[in-house]
Symmetry: C2
Subunit: 366 residues, 2 copies
């Protein structure tokens, strides 16, 4: 025995190899109970308390044996020797896998969400904010939403509106909804009629064009300076610039709501952690990547703790889903919280909200 170091750990690992794949039913049930208990209390879960609370028909000692197995499988952890068990990221992962398919939201909650959603006229901007805040209040966690963003943008309408003697706003309406506004400098005074004519001209030339097509127009204008009013050229330039900017940004903006909720969680009692997470979420590049990766997916995705790319995010989980129309225009909605999160509820809520948003997009943009 001394010559062949052979610990109990190795015994267990060996046993696991013989019977790989999913956990035994009972082990899975224990894991599940521990996770649910830990999510509820934020305290490490001990064997005795677990048996009592969940009226298990086995003794604490047996539970402890199973816990030890789950620990060697890296599904549970141990803050210190004499503390209860805490789920690891992998533990959560297994738990999530085991439930995510059949989940749907309780009818009462569906109703509440639908009700909140119905409240607002769909003034565009409002919409994403609403999605985020609905999600935040339903899950009592932080929620994020990005506006739906067309993969390639196409102009729907251009208008020029005077705002003062020497300035005017150019309005650019793109297909699938977004409206951009930018100011023009007027080198001289224009009459209303002149402005209208220019606006009309620009609109006629650019309508339904994509970014490269706009650039082509701009090139021909530049080849023949003086052929049109300077304001005309300026307008086309601005439009081109706006469209390039829009194309470049993979996520235009991120609305987050309910950060207050998440502040209540003991994990974020010290604001240091919160700050790190904030930082990442403000970062459009990060969410841009996310959108790209989610674009193909058809359901809710869950990123648990260390599964997130950013190290800063290694103690939070993301439950996110794309919405919109694949390959044409998509956005993202989701929930952010500590890894100790009520996954089933979060998943089903995100799924439901994403469904609502899809309905809406279908209805509006068909």
């Amino acid at each position: 025995m001394a010559s062949q170091p052979h610990t109990h750990q190795e015994d267990r690992l060996a046993r696991r190899k013989v019977r790989p794949g999913p956990l035994e039913d009972r082990s899975a049930a224990i894991l599940r109970a521990i996770i649910e208990e830990y999510v509820a209390t934020a305290q490490p879960v001990g064997s005795v308390a677990l048996v009592e609370k969940y009226a298990l028909s086995i003794s604490p000692a047996t539970v402890r044996n199973i816990m030890a197995e789950l620990e060697t499988a890296d599904l549970l952890g141990h803050p210190h020797t004499s503390a209860g068990r805490v789920p690891t990221d992998r533990g959560y992962r297994m738990y999530v896998e085991s439930i995510s398919d059949q989940l749907s939201l309780a009818p009462v909650e569906q109703l509440m969400i639908r009700h909140q959603f119905g409240q607002v006229e769909f003034a565009n901007e409002q919409w994403f904010r609403l999605a985020a805040s609905t999600l935040a209040s339903a899950t009592r966690a932080a929620a994020i939403a990005t506006p739906i963003k067309p993969q390639a943008c196409r102009i729907r309408r251009i208008d020029i509106v005077p705002t003062a003697e020497r300035s005017a706003s150019l309005l650019l309406v793109m297909a699938d909804g977004p409206v951009k506004q930018v100011l023009l400098n007027l080198e001289r005074e224009y009459t209303q009629a002149e402005l209208d004519e220019i606006a009309h001209g620009v609109d006629r030339v650019l309508r339904a064009k994509t970014t490269p097509e706009v650039d082509a127009v701009l090139d021909t204008l530049r080849e023949r300076p003086g052929s049109v009013d300077a304001l005309f050229t300026q307008a086309v330039e601005r439009v081109s610039r706006l469209m390039h900017e829009f194309d470049a940004a993979s996520v235009e903006e991120v609305f987050s709501e309910g950060l207050l909720n998440v502040m209540r969680e003991p994990e974020f009692e010290r604001s240091e952690r919160l700050r790190r997470v904030f930082n990442v979420l403000q970062d459009r590049a990060y969410l841009g990547d996310l959108v790209q990766r989610l674009a193909g997916s058809d359901d809710v995705s869950v990123f648990i703790g260390s599964e997130n790319e950013h190290e800063e995010m290694s103690d939070v989980s993301l439950v996110v889903a794309p919405y919109g129309r694949r390959d044409r225009a998509i956005g993202v909605v989701g929930v952010v919280g500590p890894t100790r999160m009520a996954y089933p509820h979060a998943i089903s809520t995100v799924r439901y909200v994403r469904g609502l948003m899809n309905e809406l997009v279908d209805h509006l943009y068909t």
Copy 2:
């Protein structure tokens, strides 16, 4: 002596009554030094350290005497008997009064801010966000900005843009800049020409109208149903609704930036406090009130701790200023931080940014 209780405190109070009004120069200097030290270190300030650091030509004992006076005048406080001194809200107030007039920002900083400000095309929305983030980075505190809001709104332009077969966006451009977008339901399919005609009609009828005037138009339309297309009426209804909403909200939206900065302050190490402050700042009603109160003022206002109306805000200070054109369209910019704040810098920065914004408003809306 026993029959006439006559403490030293009373002695001092009596002396203060004889010589009321502003502090002696030396006392003021000490107060100032204490505040600056405390702002820098976040630690209660003791007499010895103060004398050393500020090379005062008086002894610690004298400083202690003065400190005691300042304490009876409620300008300094005492976390506990054997701790150093901490400024009270009134102390900060006196300090701020003594400096706020002549402050202007260091040229280098002016340059940096101007530079940041110059970066962006003034796409409307961006602007306030930019102001907030510039302010946040310049003061390393949290900053807020509200969009400029016309006191009474007047329509500048209305347009209708098809977004899908059965839906269209109505664009409402108001005087002084803001653009609203809302969706219309099309009961039947409309040709482009039809839509254009209706848009044109609505625009002609409503252009330059104020809210009550729009309502008047709506009333006449309702008296004669069928006189115009249903979509025409729907559009006018939506416009009326939007304008009422716009009039009702005294603050449309609040952009806050740099909350991350403020999280670093030891005052907000526990997120509980932060949460309370957040809560208030999200509240448009609160900032609405603020806008109203600031509307008349011509300079930066400072609200220190308990001077704020909300109790939740009693440990933060606000340095805010209105911008825009008095009685016509105003917004608010400012800085939020712990009462232990670098007031001179905050005040001069807010003043400078507000100046820039005024310039811009003047330039754009004249």
